[in-house]
C-alpha cells in the first residue's frame, strides 16, 4: 500500500517539495492511516505535516477521541490544532440540519487551522467507499453528468490521496502497522442520509456486484477526466461569445446558437454560475429555459431565475444578478441657445451659427427661422413619431428603434429633440424637417457630447 500511495501522490502531483500539509484527523481509521502514510512520505519529500481535530460535541465519546488524537500527534511529533464547536447547537442557531452543519463547521475549522499553521494543502482521508457514497448520494438527490465526478483527488488546496483505496485496504494497512484508531458510533446512526446510504443502499447494490465500489470509483475518475475536457471546450466558447463583462455578462446570441446544444447548455451553466457566484439551487430546468430564450422568436424576453436574471435583446443575451432597473424618464426645456446635461448620457447643446458645417452622428443643423422654440430634450414616449431624413412619410419612433434593433433599456435612454415635432433622434437620425437650404440665413446647430457607454453603443 505504501508504494501505491506514493505512486498516486507522484502521478497526480498531489504534493511538492516545501508544501505545508494540514491533515484532518478525526482519530478514525482513515485519518490515522493517512497521517501515518504521509509521515512516511515526509521522510522523502520535504513537506511539513500539521494536524487538525474537530471536537464536535455530537457524542459523549468525543472527548475520548480528542485524547486519542492528542496522544497520537504528540507521539508522532506533529503539531495539532483543536477546535471545539457544539455542532447540535450551531445547527439549531443556523436552522440547518445536523449533517449539513457538521460539514460546514468541519470545512470552516480546517480553513481556520490551515491559516493558523500557514498550510497550503489540506489532506482528507476519504476513500473509495466514501466516493461510492457520494456518487450514490448525488444520483439520488438528482445530478447532471458533471456531478458524477464526485470527489476529486485534488480540488483546489484539498487533496484526497486515499480515494483510490478501499476501506478493507486501509484496515489491513492499520493491522500490519499495528496502529489503533477510534470508531465513530455516529457512523451507525441511520437517521443520517449518508449513513443510510452506507449501511442500507451500498450493501444492497453490492449484493449484485461485489466490485461495485471499484466500479463507481472508476466511473468518477472517467467523469473527472472528461470534465476537464468540457472545461477546455467551455472556455473556448466563452472567449468567443462573451461581448462584455459589464453589469453581469453580455453574450453574442448568434454565435452561441451555433454551438452544439450539449456544449451550449454547459456554457450557459458556467455563465449562470459566474453571475450567481455559486451553483447552489441552479437547476437543469433553469438552464434549459435560458437556452430556449436564445432561440425564442421574440427579440425581447426575460427570465427571472433564482438569484439570477436573463434577458434577451435581439442578438444579445444579458445575464445579471437582478433585472436591470428601468431608466427614469427625463424631459428638459431650452428656450434659446443653451446646454442641457442628461445624466449618464451626455451633454446637449443648441447654438446659432452662420455657416453650414458637415453633419455627423453627434451634430445636426436646422434652418433656425423654421424651428420654433422651446426645444424639448426628452426620453421616448409611446406614440412618438417623426419624419426620418430621406423619407416622405412619418414613422413611429418605436418601429424605428425596432428596425435598428435598439433594446428596450436604450430606447428609454436615447434623447429625442423636439420642436413642435421631433427633429432629432440623437445619434441615430435627424428629421427631414427644417433642413438648411441655400436661402438659410441662420443655422441652428445641435450637438451632443456623449458619455462613454452611449458613445460605444453601435446604432
Amino acid at each position: 500500500m505504501r508504494e501505491l500511495f506514493q505512486k498516486i501522490l507522484f502521478e497526480n502531483r498531489l504534493l511538492q517539495d516545501g508544501d505545508r500539509v494540514l491533515v484532518a484527523v478525526s482519530g478514525g481509521p482513515d485519518s490515522v492511516a493517512l497521517l501515518d502514510l504521509l509521515r512516511d512520505v515526509a521522510s522523502d519529500v520535504s513537506i511539513a505535516l500539521f494536524a487538525a481535530h474537530l471536537d464536535h460535541g455530537m457524542r459523549a465519546e468525543s472527548g475520548d477521541d480528542l485524547a486519542f488524537v492528542e496522544k497520537l500527534c504528540s507521539d508522532w511529533d506533529i503539531p495539532l490544532s483543536v477546535k471545539r464547536v457544539d455542532v447540535p447547537l450551531a445547527a439549531r442557531r443556523k436552522g440547518k440540519g445536523l449533517e449539513e452543519t457538521a460539514r460546514e463547521v468541519r470545512r470552516d475549522c480546517l480553513k481556520a487551522a490551515a491559516r493558523e499553521w500557514n498550510c497550503n494543502v489540506i489532506a482528507l482521508g476519504h476513500h473509495q467507499g466514501d466516493q461510492a457514497e457520494t456518487l450514490v448520494h448525488r444520483l439520488i438527490r438528482g445530478v447532471g453528468p458533471s456531478g458524477l465526478a464526485a470527489m476529486k483527488l485534488r480540488d483546489g488546496e484539498v487533496i484526497r490521496p486515499l480515494l483510490p483505496f478501499s476501506r478493507r485496504q486501509i484496515l489491513e494497512y492499520l493491522g500490519n502497522r499495528k496502529l489503533s484508531y477510534v470508531v465513530d458510533q455516529s457512523n451507525f446512526d441511520t437517521r443520517f442520509t449518508r449513513n443510510r446510504i452506507r449501511h442500507e443502499v451500498l450493501p444492497l447494490l453490492e449484493s449484485f456486484n461485489p466490485q461495485l465500489e471499484k466500479q463507481l470509483f472508476q466511473l468518477s475518475q472517467m467523469v473527472t477526466e472528461e470534465e476537464s475536457y468540457w472545461v477546455e471546450q467551455e472556455t473556448a466558447v466563452l472567449d468567443d461569445v462573451i461581448l462584455e463583462r459589464d453589469e453581469g455578462l453580455w453574450l453574442d446570441a448568434v454565435r452561441l446558437r451555433k454551438v452544439h446544444p450539449a456544449l451550449r447548455k454547459r456554457v450557459i451553466r458556467r455563465c449562470l454560475e459566474t453571475v450567481r457566484g455559486d451553483q447552489a439551487g441552479l437547476t437543469y430546468a433553469q438552464i434549459v429555459a435560458a437556452d430556449e430564450l436564445l432561440f425564442s422568436s421574440r427579440p425581447h424576453a426575460e427570465l427571472n431565475l433564482m438569484e439570477c436574471w436573463v434577458g434577451r435583446n435581439y442578438d444579445k443575451l444579458h445575464i445579471r444578478r437582478q433585472r436591470p432597473s428601468v431608466p427614469e424618464p427625463f424631459c428638459f426645456e431650452l428656450n434659446g441657445e443653451g446646454v442641457v446635461e442628461i445624466p449618464g448620457m451626455g451633454r446637449f447643446q443648441a447654438g446659432l451659427a452662420d455657416r453650414l458645417a458637415e453633419e455627423n452622428r453627434w451634430c445636426v443643423e436646422f434652418d433656425a427661422d423654421q424651428v420654433r422654440f422651446p426645444l424639448i430634450v426628452r426620453s421616448f414616449q409611446p406614440g412618438d413619431s417623426f419624419q426620418p431624413a430621406g423619407m416622405k412619410g412619418n414613422k413611429k419612433v418605436k418601429d424605428f428603434f425596432i428596425d435598428r434593433k435598439v433594446d428596450r433599456a436604450w430606447r428609454l435612454r436615447i434623447p429625442l429633440v423636439a420642436a413642435e415635432k421631433i427633429i432629432w433622434v440623437v445619434s441615430m437620425r435627424r428629421s427631414e424637417l427644417y433642413r438648411p437650404s441655400a436661402c438659410t440665413e441662420k443655422v441652428l446647430k445641435l450637438t451632443f457630447k456623449p458619455e462613454k457607454a452611449f458613445k460605444n453603443l453601435s446604432l
Copy 2:
C-alpha cells in the same frame, strides 16, 4: 397525455409521414397505452401500424396474454404477427441465462416481424421507470459515462416514445380511456436481476427522493445530448489520425498523443469497437492499456486484448483483430544474370550492363568483376551487418532498421542482397563495397520492381 405524447413525437421527429410502424405488444399496460396513443396519431400523420407479440412460454398464462392481444388487435383492426418461442428451452440450448435469452429472442422476433410487414420503425413501450431500472442496472454492473445515456428515444429504427412518462401516468391514461391490460406475473419474480432492481433497489432509493425516476431520466437525457457532442469530437479526431484502414486501423501516434486524454480514450474506444465489431467485453482497463502503449518509451510493444490486438511501431499504432502473423523467412540464390520473384514484395533482377546509369531507390550498380556469385536474395537474419554507402565502418542491419524506424514486420520482408557480404538493403541503402569506378569494365545492375505495399512504404 395525448398532447404531450404528440409533442414528444414531433420535437424528436420520431415519426414521419409514410412510416410503417411495428409496435411490440405484450398486452401489458405500457404496450396497450402505446398502441392506443399511436392509433390516435395515425389519424393525423399518415403512418401504418402493425403489431407483434411474442408467446415466450415462460408462464402458464402466456396463452391468455396471446388471446388478449389477438382480441385487442382485431378490435382495433391492426395486423398482428405472433411468434412462439420456448425461451426456457432456447436458454438451455444456448447455455445462457433466461433474462439474456428472453432479450435476444424478443429482439430477433421483432426484427423478423418488421421484415415481414416491411416496417421501418419499431416502437417499444419503455417508460421512465424502465429507464431508471436500466440506468441503475448499468451503474451496478459497471459502466463509463456513455453508458448512463441508457435507453434512447430514438436508437436506429427503434423508438421509445413513452420514455418521458412515468408508470403512474400510463396507468392513469389507461384508466381514463377505460382500457384493460394483462399483468405479467414474472415481473414479480425477484430471481431476475431486473425485477430485484425494480422491486428492491428503486423503492429504497425512492425512499430518499420520490422524484428519483424523473431525476434519473433527466440525467440520461443530458448524457444522451452530451454523447452526441462527443461523437462529433471523436469523428473529427478519427479523420485526423487514421492513416490507413488496411488490415484493421493504422493511427498516427504523434497526432493522437496531442489529443486531450479524455477524448483520446474515447477515440481509442471507438477504434477498438470498430475493429472488434462490437463493444461487448471491452473494458476501461483495456482502453487505458492501449492509451499507455501510445506513450510507452518502447517503440515496439503490443497488447493482446479480448478479440483485438494493438501494436505500436514507432509513431504508428496498429489496431487489428488478431496479431499479424510473422512473415515467412525467404532465401533465393542466383548464379548469374536472372530474375527472382519474392511473393508479396516484388521482382528482383540482376543483369550485366556496359554503361553506368543513375542509381535510385530501386536500382543500384556494382563493379561486376569484384562481386562474387552466387547472389543471395533473402530476408533479414539476426546478426546481419553491412557497410552502408558513405560510411567507413560496418553497421548492424538491425540498428540500421531501428534508426530508420522500420517496424518489425517490415524488417522481415525487406529483401537483402548478399554476395559474400550484404551489398544492398533493397529500397534503402546499398553497400559502400564494389562501387563502379572509372576503371570498371562491366557493371552488375540490380533492380527491384516493388509491389504496391512495398512501393508505398516510406523509408
